[in-house]
Amino acid sequence: MLSIAGLTKRYSGKHAAQSEPALSGVDLIVPKGQLMALIGPSGAGKSTLIRCVNRLVEPTMGRIVLDGQEVTGTGRTVLRHARRRMGMIFQEYALIERLTVMENVLSGRLGYVGFFASWSRRFPRADIAEAFRLLDRVGLKGMEDKRADELSGGQRQRVGICRALIQNPALLLVDEPTASLDPKTSRQIMRLLVELCAERDLAAIVNIHDVALAQMFVPRIVGLRAGRVVFDGPPDALTPETLTSIYGEEDWSATIRPVEDDADE
């Protein structure tokens, strides 16, 4: 279980003192195994929020605890151990382009192996076996020796998912997983994420722009506006009024209409 309490982030910079903080006093509890979508306009703080959870961005104030382990206010070693329990998936995949698919997947184990073992690419047998299993599971069997830059967008995101899962995480932090993908691939990737989280009883925070896609796949939606939580509820509780409170005035009738899921995969 992840608990976030009073999370505030103020970026330092020229006008930092006057400007609004990126996040102010965010409280959230994500129970074990829950898939949560984070929606909100650009600049609302979605990306900052998930980066504060694994402290890629250092929070200004607040407390983050994952499965009883403090994430905030700890030293480098404890932080690294906490990061192992949080897999991260990125908008533009953030794979190491010049490394092979297998090296990219195994890089998810870097927190567990020593420098020389990782430098010489001698990972434990169990890790390699798990990497093969995961690649098979996401439909990339036989692709292990391809270079990451040879893959299509959907395939790259699948490698990104394997890299996150091989960490054996308790929580996935997912930053706009489908923003660089076409609608069909987006749905396939979302469906895969949902299935994998269910198989492994994983909690996940998914930043997503596509409200309809979020409604289709995710049981809980949190709306963020200007760094504050303004909505927290199931997808069918999203009304034109709540969307207006998150994004501002707009005609929302087309957005909320249930989207038909295309079955051809």
Partner: protein, 262 residues
Amino acid sequence: MSETWSPPPAIRNPWLRYGLYLGAAVYLSLALGTLHLNWARLAEGLDRGWAFVSAFGHPDISKHWREIWEGFVESLTMTVVATALGILISLPVGLGAARNLAPMPLYLLCRGIVAISRTFPEIIVAILFVKMFGFGPLAGVATLAFATIGFMAKLLAEDIEDIDPRQVEAIRATGAGPFQVLNYAVQPQVMARFIGLSVYRLDINFRESAVIGIVGAGGIGATLNTSFERYEFDTAAAILLTIIGIVMATEYFSSVVRERLR
């Protein structure tokens, strides 16, 4: 309606414009006056210059075969040793000089090393090292290694500053340590270009080794200098032609290597 047009002058104020023209003309004529052109001496030198140029028609490599061979072997040895040494030292300096990796004090120190290494031309550094280590290839190796550090470290640092930060973020997010981040997220992004630059520097160092030999830092430059002092232009021509051949060969080799690394 007017039908003529000419582009506006670069300097709009006519006083300033013509003043600058006049000033430049006066300065040039005065400067030319201080050169003390001696036409008789120039005519005499033209003969000697022609003797040197015409020697390229009949280069003679056989008369001082041993000296030439030893000179080239020494130059190549200097080049390879100095390049390897320089690259080895440039690695930590380059990492430290990358603003996105290094903390401020380390960054300033490494940028300082780069600046010092790049400020002094090889020939000046060579004169200094010849005074320190005496004539010979040791001074040459020190000079070329010194120049290589600045060159490689600066280009490595700039490549590192241009890497995709998202890949670094992704590796940090796995709980990797700082050296693992370097090995997995930074090295793959800069390695190919670094190898290409190393090969390029190897061929620069060979060319430079011929130049610094003239001030006493060993190698083929020293042999070349001796032949000039003896007015053996046919030997000098042979040496220069060989240098040109080797430089062209290494340049071709380095371009092939860089092409294949893409």
